[in-house]
């Protein structure tokens, strides 16, 4: 049961590294957003430091959703999806394995890069820890929610915009609680509540995402 799933994770990570697309594009996007914000806001260091955590979250949020549309459609186009359908493991777990690989290739680098970029924004050290931790907890929810959109994109070709419209509202609570936990931690208020909400959203999408994605893929192959 584990070996086929490990094979999927390994293959998708290899493809992400080799193709240079997915992971690199998201990181560059994240970097661009964070670097450009101080120029847009102007030379007001306290203000930049104050909005810094929110900017980091926003950049990671958009970078996570970027590049999700090809998650299943690439396999659909070259016939690999049929191979995945016939693997001796439930399709839900196949979808989860693809989600995990995608998060490792695109989400995790964002989390690792966040404290470094936070320094660029002058975010104070205590806040850096909070924003990194909240990103670590929140970005898997974005990936696994995006999994559903990516599967629907296979069922409905040329639906890129539709998928974005469909998943964005569902992703907003993750952003709200992620930023909420960070702001509370910086202000020295109780951060546990929003942090736990972000965590519960992640656990929710970790279960719901693969199940919904598998349902969409089953519908797509008819």
């Amino acid at each position: 049961m584990i070996a086929p799933l490990a094979a999927i994770v390994k293959r998708d990570l290899l493809l992400a590294v080799r193709a240079g697309g997915g992971a690199g594009v998201g990181l560059m996007f994240f970097l661009a957003v964070v670097v450009v914000v101080p120029f847009a806001v102007g030379p007001d260091i306290p203000l930049i430091a104050r909005v810094g955590p929110a900017v980091l979250w926003l950049g990671a949020f958009l970078a996570s959703l970027l590049g999700l549309d090809g998650l299943f459609s690439a396999d659909h186009e070259d016939g690999s999806l049929d191979l995945l359908f016939l693997a001796p493991v439930p399709l839900e777990l196949v979808a989860a394995a693809k989600g995990l690989a995608h998060w490792l290739a695109t989400g995790l680098p964002l989390v690792v890069l966040a404290p470094l970029l936070g320094l660029l924004l002058g975010v104070e050290p205590r806040a850096l820890g909070a924003v990194t931790l909240s990103l670590l907890v929140g970005t898997p929810a974005l990936t696994f929610l995006g999994l559903v959109g990516a599967a629907i994109a296979v069922a409905l070709p040329r639906s890129g915009l539709f998928v974005a419209v469909l998943t964005l509202p569902l992703a907003i609570p993750i952003l709200i609680f992620g930023v909420g936990a960070t702001s509370a931690a910086i202000a020295g208020e109780a951060a546990a509540a929003p942090f736990k909400f972000a965590l519960s959203l992640t656990l929710f999408f970790l279960v719901l995402g693969p199940a919904a994605a598998a349902a969409a893929l089953r519908h797509a192959r008819d």
Binding site: A3, P4, A6, A7, I8, K10, R11, L14, L15, R18, A19, E77, D78, G79, S80, D82, L83, L84, F85, L86, A87, P88, R221, D222
Partner: protein
């Protein structure tokens, strides 16, 4: 094993591709599905593989529904990732399908051994087809479902395909192939799908 196709029906939109299609195959048999473009050959192969539900009828193996663990499907797409090497592509299929046979043996049988370290994107269409067919050999499956297996294959490739199919049948395997080309499968039964082209 005994494969029974019992009264299968397939509809694509408003059009009935086939209805009441029945045939059987015993261990060691080969079935060649022929018919004009749009007759439903690919649909039939995907239907037998369980990728699409039939409108009516059933696919039965030894009295039970066909399990995906007992079949190989080589579709009309090669399912080859250009960014991975030939060896990596095959190793993935092998791990995914839970195969126990070394990839080198399979590459040898399809004449790809010398190319195993190359990225698959530099392969020609025929070489990609050979790589797809090599999947048949890395995991033991009694039923092989092949959709246009000889597409883009040269004479040597076709001979190698005929050889691995013969070896599979000698081990009591069953092969169902949809094709336009004449396949060198001795004693194969032909199932002709009539449907008028759209």
């Amino acid at each position: 094993m005994r494969l029974n196709i019992e009264g299968l029906a397939c509809r694509r939109g408003e059009r009935v591709l086939f209805d009441g299609l029945s045939f059987a195959a015993e261990a060691g048999d080969a079935v060649v599905v022929t018919g004009p473009n749009g007759a439903g050959k690919t649909s039939l192969i995907r239907l037998i593989a369980g990728l699409t539900p039939p409108q009516a009828g059933a696919v039965v193996v030894d009295g039970a529904p066909l399990a995906r663990e007992s079949l190989h499907l080589i579709g009309h797409l090669d399912a080859v990732k250009g960014a991975l090497t030939v060896k990596e592509n095959l190793a993935f299929s092998r791990a995914l399908l839970g195969g126990r046979i070394a990839g080198e043996t399979a590459l040898e049988a399809l004449g790809l051994a010398a190319l195993s370290e190359l990225p698959a994107r530099v392969l020609s269409a025929g070489q990609k087809r050979r790589l797809a067919l090599a999947r048949l050999l890395v995991a033991e499956r009694p039923l092989w479902l092949l959709d246009e297996p000889t597409a883009s294959l040269d004479a040597d490739g076709q001979a190698r395909l005929a050889a691995i199919v013969a070896a599979h049948r000698a081990k009591n395997g069953i092969v169902v192939a949809a094709t336009h080309a004449a396949l060198d499968f001795p004693g194969a039964r032909e199932v002709r799908l009539g449907g008028a082209p759209a």
